[in-house]
């Protein structure tokens, strides 16, 4: 370890950032896409036609459906349609703990989707489960996020002069300088976002990763904890005594009087049809910063109001607000785009850090004719992570349009296309000539995203031009974002094109700029 506190912090920043960087990049990119989960769902289900119904009609529809199909379930979970997503979503657990779901058109009670796809759900799930079995993906994602936190703090210590650094950008200086400046600027520009999103991300999984305090105070009785902290819909075990469940709509209307200005988000029914039934009506999650809003609990046998949960205490409120800041469900259109933009900045910060590591290492090794195995490995993984992931995402969207609608396991095949493209990118990065892999993959990615609107126009009944003309914000927004993403990839390819001669990497002698004073690294 080097002498000096800042040198050691720089070492930590460099190595921890490298080791976790590839995974963190994937988590940042997919998490950023998850901001627009319902919108991606909508684009990936172009044949979905959903009847717009009132809140009360949707509740009646769910009530009717669940009584018919899940009368003896342990729990019902009804997510009502909202302006971003018009589908009526229902989940229920049988008494054996098996979960079922139904995504229905609330007007017809028929399945809303002809085209089986995970849609934006895939990115949302991947960004914290990493396509691994429970709970390993969540553990790995949490650990990566902890490393991110360490890397951020050690990065701040390393770049102590970061406000000065922020106004230093020397794009025409040596490659290493330019990358370092870009990395610093990207890091500092959205630093509060990076810190909050990372810490709050760790906190969303804390029940899994840090149960020690709860275990110490409550032992095996974690239900007691959730009861005391409040906000959690109560679910009691079945008593065995049958009692008819009252109609849900009047209960929901009674609950709504507690928040006249916002909608109902979800209704949870525990032990329906039993004497121990509980009906909890929850406020929509876009109505407040914290992850859960007000909730009203009714006795599901008598319809009597039991509890109004709307005032979490300090620590619970802190937790709920941190959670809410991470998921950004409170955010309106403009703020959602800001989240998206900050997520893009964070992804670019990680990518530029990875590239910077490889460039620095390469420079040190210019004398050696061949790079060492470690450097080569980093370079391959950099390409596979940074250029390969956009290709995988593009493959996911392309497969959504190209796979036959009636294909068996269609949603899963889309996921295979995602990982297949990603694996191919890795193989290509490892086998092709190192000088051209970046160029080839980034350009391919740019082409894939640039052609997405055309592909969509050819395979569905919608097209970008029409979407803009008719003011279909989601379809137009998605495809314009794809075009912008294509431009960004093409620009990156342009920036990363191989230098003509190795000497071009070395510092060129340039006159000192007049406005910005050069600092020794």
């Amino acid at each position: 370890m080097k002498d000096g506190f800042r040198q050691r912090m720089a070492w930590l920043h460099t190595w921890a950032g490298l080791v976790a960087g590839w995974l963190l990049f994937a988590m940042f990119v997919t998490g950023t896409l998850a901001v627009f989960r319902p919108e991606i769902n909508q684009w990936m289900r172009p044949d979905q036609a959903v009847t717009r119904v009132s809140e009360g009609e949707a509740i009646d529809a769910a009530d009717r459906y669940l009584r018919q199909h899940a009368a003896d379930a342990a729990r019902w979970f009804i997510r009502l349609p909202n302006p971003r997503d018009g589908v009526l979503e229902m989940y229920w657990a049988t008494r054996d703990g098996e979960w079922h779901d139904a995504l229905l058109d609330p007007g017809t009670l028929r399945p809303s989707v002809q085209r089986a796809t995970l849609g934006g759900e895939f990115f949302y799930r991947f960004h914290f489960e990493l396509q691994m079995p429970y709970p390993w993906g969540r553990w790995l994602a949490s650990f990566a996020a902890m490393v991110m936190l360490v890397v951020l703090v050690s990065g701040i210590v390393t770049h102590r002069r970061f406000f000065k650094d922020f106004f230093t950008f020397r794009p025409r200086k040596a490659a290493q300088r330019a990358w370092l400046d870009a990395h610093n600027a990207l890091g500092v520009l959205a630093l509060p976002f990076h810190l909050v999103i990372t810490l709050s991300g760790v906190i969303t999984l804390m029940a899994l990763t840090m149960p020690a305090a709860l275990d110490a105070r409550y032992g095996a009785d974690s239900d007691a904890f959730y009861r005391e902290r409040g906000g959690e819909p109560p679910v009691l075990p079945r008593s065995g005594v049958d009692r008819p469940l009252p109609s849900l709509r009047p209960l929901a209307e009674a609950a709504r009087r507690h928040w006249p200005d916002s909608a109902i988000g979800t209704i949870v029914v525990g032990a329906p049809g039993d004497a121990n039934a509980r009906v909890t009506v929850l406020q929509a999650d876009n109505a407040q910063l914290r992850i859960r809003g007000a909730a009203v609990v009714f006795d599901g046998a008598t319809g009597r109001l039991l509890d109004v949960m709307n005032a979490p205490r300090a620590a619970a409120l802190t937790h709920d607000v941190l959670y809410g800041l991470h998921t950004a469900r409170f955010a309106g259109g403009g703020l959602r785009w800001l989240y998206f933009l900050c997520g893009v900045l964070g992804s670019l910060m990680i990518a530029s850090g990875l590239v910077l590591w490889a460039i620095k290492r390469r420079q040190r090794e210019t004398k050696a004719s061949r790079p060492t195995f470690g450097t080569r490995l980093v370079e391959v993984l950099n390409v596979a992570a940074v250029a390969g992931l956009p290709l995988a995402i593009a493959a996911f969207f392309w497969s959504n349009r190209l796979l036959p609608v009636g294909l068996a396991d269609r949603a899963q095949v889309e996921v295979w296309c995602f990982f297949g493209a990603w694996a191919l990118s890795g193989v290509h990065a490892a086998c092709a000539r190192p000088r051209t892999v970046w160029l080839v993959q980034l350009r391919l990615g740019a082409a894939a995203f640039a052609l997405l609107p055309l592909l969509s126009a050819l395979t569905t009944r919608q097209n970008l031009f029409q979407a803009i003309m008719r003011g279909q914000g989601v379809e137009a927004g998605f495809e314009l974002a794809a075009l912008a993403f294509a431009a960004m990839l093409a620009w990156s390819a342009h920036k990363l094109r191989p230098a003509r001669a190795p000497t071009a990497i070395a510092t060129r002698i340039e006159p000192a700029p007049r406005t910005l004073r050069e600092e020794a690294p």
Binding site: M1, K2, D3, F5, R8, M9, W11, L12, F143, M146, L149, V150, V153, S154, L199, V202, I203, M206, M210, A212, A213, L214, A216, R217, Y218, F225, E228, R229, R313, A314, A315, A316, T318, H319, L322
Partner: protein
């Protein structure tokens, strides 16, 4: 990092620090969570939440501290001492 004089020893010391930060840091964070859950002057559920939320800050701080000291053994001494003190305080809190 510049080329180390004794690669194997150097690598061992880096590995030792990584373990001290990842595993030792988690142990300290866990110890802190239990300890704070017993000692914080809040109601039971609030103390549990405060302790758990702060435990991640403790984890990150410990991990950074492990890499900030001069020698790897110093990091281990610090981590083990912190664990012992926190475990003692937690036991005391539990038996209150």
């Amino acid at each position: 990092m510049s080329a180390p004089a004794t690669p194997l020893l150097y690598r061992a010391s880096v590995l030792s620090r990584v373990l001290a930060a990842a595993v030792g840091g988690y142990a300290v964070a866990r110890g802190f969570a239990v300890c704070a859950a017993w000692w914080l002057p809040q109601s039971r559920s609030e103390a549990v939440l405060t302790a758990t939320l702060l435990a991640f800050v403790v984890y990150a701080t410990t991990a950074i501290w492990v890499f900030s000291v001069r020698r790897a053994w110093q990091a281990w001494v610090g981590v083990v001492l912190a664990c012992l003190v926190l475990a003692g305080l937690a036991a005391l809190g539990a038996s209150r």
